[in-house]
């Protein structure tokens, strides 16, 4: 029998070279936390070009991707103001220099594009106040297609709508996943589920690879089913310096260090040789962090456990037979069932 549930476990290098192509649209699934930095750094190291990048949080993730010259177009809802008031971060510098096209949505309207994409709709209604905002009126590369307006067939009211977004590749970092790609995440959800399910290919990195037994005893934490996932990477610290509930707080030492890099003319690029190009994988990145800041600094941000109360999924019966060997609803044992079949069954001759 063909193995229909193969292991999808591979390295970040393999996943990115296999599934991310020049010119693709790529979305970071995580919303401000658990940002998939290992996968993003791999994309930068492989010097992918011409990407349309979706980043709702507009945090350090997009700064690295833009500084890596991977991105031509950015769809976002927020951009953290790195690098001080005047200079700004890499996104701002590239946008102002005409090297990057940026389409600005609000968090809700950005999420609505993905909700449409995830559910298979071609557009999604959004909330009417946006029509008074310059988010609606001022348009970049999406042009006419940034928003539309339809009339409700029932109330006659005007309703602004956004087009569906279906990125080519979604990058997701989670607490745990199994080898088939069943991905479990807990904490701030943002638009993570919509981002994943709207995408054609999903790459999952996880802090821990677990057995399917763990997944099936806690399905309420599974945010993406394995059959939608193409690659699974076991990548401890895969989201560092971003945080992940149960694992670590944001690494403020590294984030301040990143922030400080913007004060140079090169901005974030000044970190690339040492921190991105110079380190082939996540393990070497963490080793380098320890060399620079010390293991004490890494451990300072480690989470102390606060466990979720277990949810009891127990049932009374695990087959059509009760614990005394009696058939449910019939009240007979195996021999009794076979006797009933002989007497009352509509028997057929199959020899």
């Amino acid at each position: 029998m063909k193995n229909c549930r193969p292991s999808k476990v591979m390295t970040a290098h393999e996943a990115v070279s296999r599934y991310v192509h020049d010119g693709d649209s790529v979305i970071t699934g995580n919303y401000t936390e658990g940002l998939p930095f290992s996968l993003l750094f791999e994309i930068i190291r492989q010097r992918k070009k011409g990407l349309t990048y979706y980043s709702q949080s507009g945090s350090a993730d997009v700064e690295f991707m833009v500084a890596g010259d991977c991105v031509d177009k950015l769809c976002t809802a927020f951009l953290h103001k790195w690098g001080g008031r005047a200079a700004g971060g890499m996104v701002e510098r590239y946008q102002r220099a005409g090297k990057l096209q940026v389409e600005d949505y609000s968090n809700f309207t950005y999420n609505a594009r993905l909700a449409a994409g995830a559910n298979g709709y071609s557009f999604m209604p959004v909330l009417p106040s946006i029509m008074d905002s310059d988010v609606f009126k001022i348009r970049d590369y999406m042009g006419e297609n940034k928003f539309g307006v339809v009339r409700c067939p029932f109330t006659g009211r005007e309703i602004p709508v956004v087009p569906a977004a279906n990125p080519d590749v979604c990058l997701l970092h989670v607490q745990r996943a199994d080898k088939h790609g069943n991905a479990q995440h807990w904490g701030g959800l943002g638009s993570t589920v919509h981002a994943c399910l709207a995408s054609k290919t999903i790459i999952v990195s996880c802090e821990e690879l677990v057995d399917f037994d763990v997944i099936k005893s806690s399905p309420h934490h599974t945010i993406v089913p394995g059959f939608r996932v193409s690659a699974v990477i076991e990548e401890p610290y895969g989201c560092h310096p971003s945080e992940l509930p149960g694992y670590r707080n944001p690494d403020m030492t590294m984030l301040r260090f990143i922030d400080n890099s913007f004060s140079s003319d090169e901005g974030l690029r000044s970190m690339f040789d040492e921190w991105v190009y110079g380190l082939p994988d996540r393990a070497s990145y963490i080793k380098h962090y320890i060399d620079v800041f010390g293991v004490e600094s890494l451990n300072r941000y480690r989470a102390r456990s606060y466990y979720s109360a277990p949810a009891d999924y127990g049932v009374a019966f695990e087959s059509g037979w009760d614990t005394y060997g009696q058939a449910l609803l019939l009240g007979v044992d195996i021999a009794g069932l076979e006797q009933l079949i002989a007497e009352k069954g509509d028997l057929v001759d199959v020899d």
């Binding site: 995580n30 401000t32 927020f78 005409g98 999420n111 909330l127 001022i138 904490g187 944001p250």
Partner: protein, 276 residues
């Protein structure tokens, strides 16, 4: 009772915190709003439901978070939901009592710019829209905070509509929660409110050591002043003690805070390099 020395930043945070009533459902953003929400919840409003647009609902800030889905906010919270549902099932459906928004630029009718200081794409950025336009439209009431001097006659980019052209324009449009809009703006110099009919912003109270002329100097229109002026809230020890426990760096201005943190990191790196 107040026995502690209080900084300007702390006074602003406590002023914002006092806007929250016990039991309110409140949307918070990063920075001063989170600090204000945490202070309120740990002092006069323990039953407030604090939420962030990432879908972390009914949480208790214990450390200053750096973003709206920060893991420091998910150590025990009541309701985990997605962002889309926060805006539809909570805000648009009418269950959000208050929202806090940080302001880049504001005009006299409380319209906000948090995007660009000119026409994109060439203009300097502020940040971007984030959750502001929809929270501002659908929370029953919004509390605004502004650190800079962003009062302008005409916004170069209107991210989040306030009272639009003033009067009943917002109400009449039918695009907003009835009765919603900004109730108060808190800046380092004072407290501003909005006239119930004209919806024009006016100065309601001054912070200590600030004169009316200093406020007027930042404002390009002929600012109306409440007569008599109102007063600012005097922080209490329990508020200040809690705030310093939550976020010791927040007693300082952003610039001073960043300098203090960076000096500490440099010291750590030096100690590491010299093998201590």
């Amino acid at each position: 009772m107040l026995t502690k020395q209080v900084t300007k930043e702390e006074l602003l945070i406590v002023t914002a915190a006092r806007q929250i009533k016990n039991g309110d459902v409140v949307a918070l953003g990063i920075g001063m709003p989170i600090l204000a929400g945490a202070v309120a919840k740990n002092t006069h409003a323990p039953e407030a439901v604090l939420l962030m647009e990432s879908g972390i609902v009914d949480f208790e800030p214990c450390v200053l978070p750096v973003n709206v889905a920060d893991a420091t906010c998910t150590r025990g919270y009541g309701y985990s939901v997605d962002l889309f549902s926060v805006f539809t099932t909570i805000a648009y459906a009418g269950y959000l009592d208050k929202a806090f928004l940080g302001v880049g630029q504001i005009d006299k009718y409380g319209n906000l710019n948090t995007s660009f200081l000119g026409t994109p794409p060439a203009a300097q950025r502020i940040t971007a829209a984030g959750g502001a336009p929809e929270f501002y439209a659908y929370a029953k009431e919004t509390i605004l905070t502004m650190k800079g001097k962003g009062f302008v006659e005409k916004l170069p980019y209107m991210t989040s509509p306030g009272y639009l052209g003033g009067g009943d324009e917002r109400e009449k449009s039918g695009r907003y929660t009835p009765g919603s809009g900004p109730s108060i703006l808190i800046t380092p110099k004072g407290i501003f409110k909005f006239h119930p009919e004209t919806r024009e912003m006016y100065l309601d109270a001054l912070f200590p050591g600030v004169g009316v002329d200093e406020v007027r100097a930042d404002i390009p229109w002929d600012l109306k002043i409440a007569d008599p002026l109102g007063s600012f809230p005097v922080p209490q020890d329990e508020e200040i003690v809690f705030l310093r426990r939550l976020s010791p760096v927040s007693s300082f201005s952003n610039t001073t805070g960043k300098e203090l943190v960076m000096a500490h990191i440099r010291k750590q790196m030096e100690e590491k390099a010299t093998g201590r």
